[in-house]
């Protein structure tokens, strides 16, 4: 399955980003072929609606799951509409989270926070 993780950087030693919508990149990783790549998040600097736009990017990458520490309600609604499951990351290490995901040890993210409706 392909999974997406918000990350701080597009380098191999990158960490999980604490924000989903405003993460600079997403790591798109295929758990079967063990291949991965970085997808730039064009929503990172959006004053408003970043979660929605970021979620669209993730959905368009055709992943089956999202691993993230936090997720807003709008982004979660997009994920639900696309039938993508959201899992809660355990720490900021990519390796730990991918291993935990493969072993079925990640829990679904349930504490979806209300959106930070920005803008004017």
């Amino acid at each position: 399955m392909k999974i997406a993780i918000p990350v701080d950087d597009n380098t191999l030693d990158t960490r999980v980003c604490i924000s989903f919508g405003r993460a600079p990149y997403f790591l798109i990783y295929d758990t079967e072929s063990k291949e991965g790549g970085f997808q730039e998040n064009s929503a990172a600097n959006s004053p408003g609606g970043a979660g929605i736009k970021a979620a669209q990017t993730v959905v368009d990458s055709r992943v089956g799951a999202l691993l993230t520490p936090r997720c807003g309600e709008n982004a979660a609604e997009v994920m639900n509409a696309a039938n993508i499951k959201i899992y809660k990351t355990i720490n900021d290490s990519i390796r730990d989270n991918v291993t935990a995901f493969n072993e079925g040890n990640l829990e679904l993210l349930t504490d979806i926070h209300p959106g930070l409706h920005g803008g004017k």
């Binding site: 929503a43 959006s46 408003g48 609606g49 970043a50 929605i52 736009k53 979620a55 669209q56 959905v59 709008n74 609604e77 997009v78 509409a81 696309a82 039938n83 209300p114 959106g115 409706h117 920005g118 803008g119 004017k120």
Partner: protein
């Protein structure tokens, strides 16, 4: 004569001043534009209240016409749209009602519908017409409510209780005002925020003066600021526990006590003279 009452920060006494001025002015109206935290109605306890819902226009998709071209999704600068599983998702509370998606949809698949974001309550309290704008919890912008409040403003003397700060919502509230009263506290914080709101009224070219509230013995940094900048000081309200108690109980001081009636009546006289002088200068 339309008087806007504003201050750079909350808690300086905006509501105290606008409520009591309206109450002492006789036939007048009080308009609460602080739609996030409206408090004036707690004082006036208006009767014969009529409520009106305020809506904005947001897009509505006709799924039979949408072909998934995503032009609307790409266009929306607010990221209020997503196209997922062959369906357009619309996020109402992110939408700014710019109509761009409706205009540029090549299939004419987007129309509009109304969405309620808050309400306006109008009532009377003795001879004051009280209008309160209320933004529903979770809505981003109260500007459409303020526009409607000011659009419906009756002729005659009106006192506009503005939101705190100097953001765009305050600009909207003072747009139609003939005169602005800046309420300031005698603290360093008060001066810093007075400076911001002073810049705002200067930018809009609004005639204005400062009312010094909660004055204590000793140095008043806000007063010093006004003297340095040559800003008209409309009056001083001394800190007093009796006024503090009346006000914190949401009672109207001028309706209870002759001392405060005189205080606000003379403030009203000063403001009226200022407004007349400014109008004379204008014509």
């Amino acid at each position: 004569m339309r008087i806007a009452v504003l201050s750079g920060k909350g808690g300086t006494g905006k509501t105290l001043v606008s409520v009591n001025l309206a109450a002492v002015a006789g036939q007048s109206s009080y308009i609460d534009c602080d739609v996030e935290e409206p408090n004036g109605y707690l004082f006036f306890k208006p009767e014969r209240v009529e409520s009106e819902e305020i809506s904005i226009r947001i897009p509505l998709v006709d799924e039979t016409l949408c072909n998934g071209c995503r032009i609307c999704v790409e266009f929306c600068k607010f990221n209020a749209l997503a196209y997922i599983n062959d369906k357009l998702l619309i996020f109402d509370e992110v939408c700014h009602s710019c109509r761009g998606c409706v205009l540029f949809c090549p299939e004419k698949a987007l129309g509009e519908r109304n969405k309620v974001i808050g309400s306006i309550e109008k009532g009377v309290s003795e001879n004051v017409a009280v209008a309160t704008g209320i933004l529903n919890i979770g809505e981003a912008s109260g500007i459409p409510i303020i526009k409607k409040l000011l659009h419906d403003m009756p002729p005659g003397s009106s006192f506009i209780d503005c939101p705190p700060g100097s953001a765009c919502i305050v600009m909207e509230s003072i747009k139609d005002a003939d005169y602005c009263i800046l309420v300031a506290e005698p603290t360093l914080f008060g001066v810093h925020n007075l400076n911001m709101v002073h810049e705002l009224v200067e930018l809009f070219g609004k005639p204005h003066g400062v009312l010094l509230n909660k004055c204590l013995e000793g140095e008043n940094p806000a007063e010093k600021y006004c003297l340095d900048k040559g800003i008209k000081i409309l009056g001083r309200i001394s800190f007093d526990r009796e006024l503090g108690t009346i006000n914190s109980d949401a009672r109207i001081a001028v309706r209870e006590n002759a001392k405060y009636r005189d205080l606000f009546a003379s403030l009203l006289r000063v403001v009226s003279e200022e407004v007349q002088r400014e109008t004379a200068l204008d014509s």
